[in-house]
């Protein structure tokens, strides 16, 4: 396979096609060569590896909703559940979400918050990169010709996880803002990642440090109540670098990302759910 990529250095890599074909159909992209990754068995499925979960780059959003997988990485399943429609979730893949490198990619904040290690393969070797090493700017990656995203390694069942997303409606929506938050009870730290509010996925470092300091790790509760949540939301808003575009305004994005992060921290500490994916057919999955 890598020989093919070496031989066709200008070829476009095709995963689920849900971003790629939109550009082709609109005439914005005219590939002279395409390498379809669909039938590469090494890129399919997921597996446990010790305390990690390893996702093949070709894992689809629908496959991430599988109950056994969702128990291990609940906030990734939550994020996958918000992507597009059943049609899009059946086709789109985690590797495609990474390769497209949109600031609004729904799995990307999750991968940042969980400290994903992304395997990038080329003829004869595989290198491992973090999300911020892979995605360098909107729709730009550090992938070189001949290279391919192979897999994504995540910790299994890490702490309490939450993913929240804002858009004009529930189905077929590209995020106006999204947030992944992980409260790692054993490592005693809070990790937060923000999507759609900057050129790349952002980690609000001060907000993370604040939340980490405000949790009583022995009693497993947040100190300072509502005022602490408000202060946390303020730090998240301050870390956002949103823009005005056709989907929303910078002001609204900043507002929304603060609310999402506040709610995520509140839920994660209060409910301390581990492996509990919100029932997709619950009457009001957004209310809790």
């Amino acid at each position: 396979m890598y020989e093919l990529l070496e031989r066709l250095p200008d070829a476009d890599l095709l995963a689920g096609g849900t971003d790629f074909m939109v550009e082709v159909n609109a005439g914005r992209r005219r590939p002279l060569a395409v390498v379809s990754l669909h039938d590469v068995p090494e890129l399919r499925g997921w597996r446990r590896d010790g305390s990690d979960v390893v996702l093949g780059a070709g894992l689809t959003y629908t496959e991430m909703l599988d109950a056994e997988f969702a128990d291990l990485v609940p906030c990734l399943a939550q994020a996958a559940r918000t992507v597009g429609s059943p049609q899009i979730r059946n086709a789109g893949t985690i590797g495609g979400n990474l390769g497209t490198a949109s600031p609004a990619g729904d799995t990307l904040p999750v991968l940042a918050a969980l400290g994903a290690r992304i395997g990038v393969g080329r003829q004869g070797s595989v290198r491992t990169v973090t999300l911020d090493e892979l995605i360098t700017a909107p729709k730009r990656t550090s992938l070189e010709p001949g290279e391919l995203i192979v897999d994504v390694r995540l910790p299994a069942g890490l702490g309490t996880q939450e993913f929240l997303k804002v858009g004009p409606r529930n189905a077929m929506i590209i995020a106006v803002a999204n947030v992944a938050l992980v409260v790692d009870w054993s490592g005693r730290q809070v990790c937060v990642a923000l999507g759609s509010v900057g050129p790349v996925i952002l980690r609000p470092g001060e907000a993370e440090a604040f939340a980490t300091a405000r949790i009583d790790w022995d009693e497993r509760r947040l100190l300072g109540g509502e005022a602490a949540l408000d202060e946390f939301a303020g730090l998240v808003r301050a870390a956002a670098r949103p823009i005005d575009d056709h989907r929303s305004t910078a002001d609204y994005r900043r507002h929304a990302v603060g609310i999402c992060a506040r709610r995520a921290l509140d839920r994660a500490v209060r409910h301390q759910r581990i492996g509990a994916l919100a029932d997709p057919f619950q009457e009001k999955p957004w209310a809790s």
Partner: protein, 172 residues
């Protein structure tokens, strides 16, 4: 893995399996979507051409048993996969499937443009979940936009088709 290389003038030749039949696609351009090939080369006009962005679901087809938008599938990359369009979901010897008949009976068809895609999604739903709840139906058709009906009659048609199948199963 498929290598789909073509210079500007080089044309592709590949086979597609659609509704159980093998089609030879000749002189094709690399960039053609599955939707384009189904409609313009194979004459299967059930999948409708609307948004070309995977947003509206009017081109929904089954690819290896999963509902996908034909407009976001690169046709040449669908070689070797099993494609089913609305044309392939009508039982042999009858004009309409039971789900199609329920859509007619319940008035779930107005302009009709979204109907073939909806029927593919509903067919898939009922073959995996014979007695769906209202929310499960809404979820299953959440990728199919209808601008006429307001969905009420579509929901009624799906439940009517499911109930009919339930009665048949009990009766037999």
């Amino acid at each position: 893995m498929g290598e789909l290389s073509s210079a500007e003038t080089e044309l592709l030749r590949y086979r597609l399996r659609v509704n159980g039949l093998d089609y030879e696609v000749l002189d094709a351009q690399l960039c053609e979507s599955l939707l384009y090939v189904l409609r313009e080369r194979l004459g299967l006009h059930g999948p409708k051409n609307a948004c070309l962005e995977g947003e509206c679901g009017s081109c929904s087809v089954l690819v290896d048993g999963a509902v996908e938008c034909a407009c976001t599938v690169l046709a040449a990359a669908a070689a070797g996969r099993d494609v089913v369009t609305i044309e392939g979901l009508t039982p042999e010897g009858s004009d309409l499937s039971d789900i199609q008949q329920a859509f007619v009976d319940e008035g779930a068809v107005q302009c009709g443009f979204c109907t073939p895609g909806l029927l593919v999604s509903v067919h898939h739903l009922l073959s995996h979940n014979p007695a769906p709840t209202d929310l499960e139906v809404r979820e299953a058709i959440s990728g199919n936009l209808c601008r006429c009906t307001g969905y009420g009659r579509i929901l009624a048609a799906v439940h009517a088709a499911a109930a009919d199948r339930g009665r048949e199963t009990v009766g037999s």
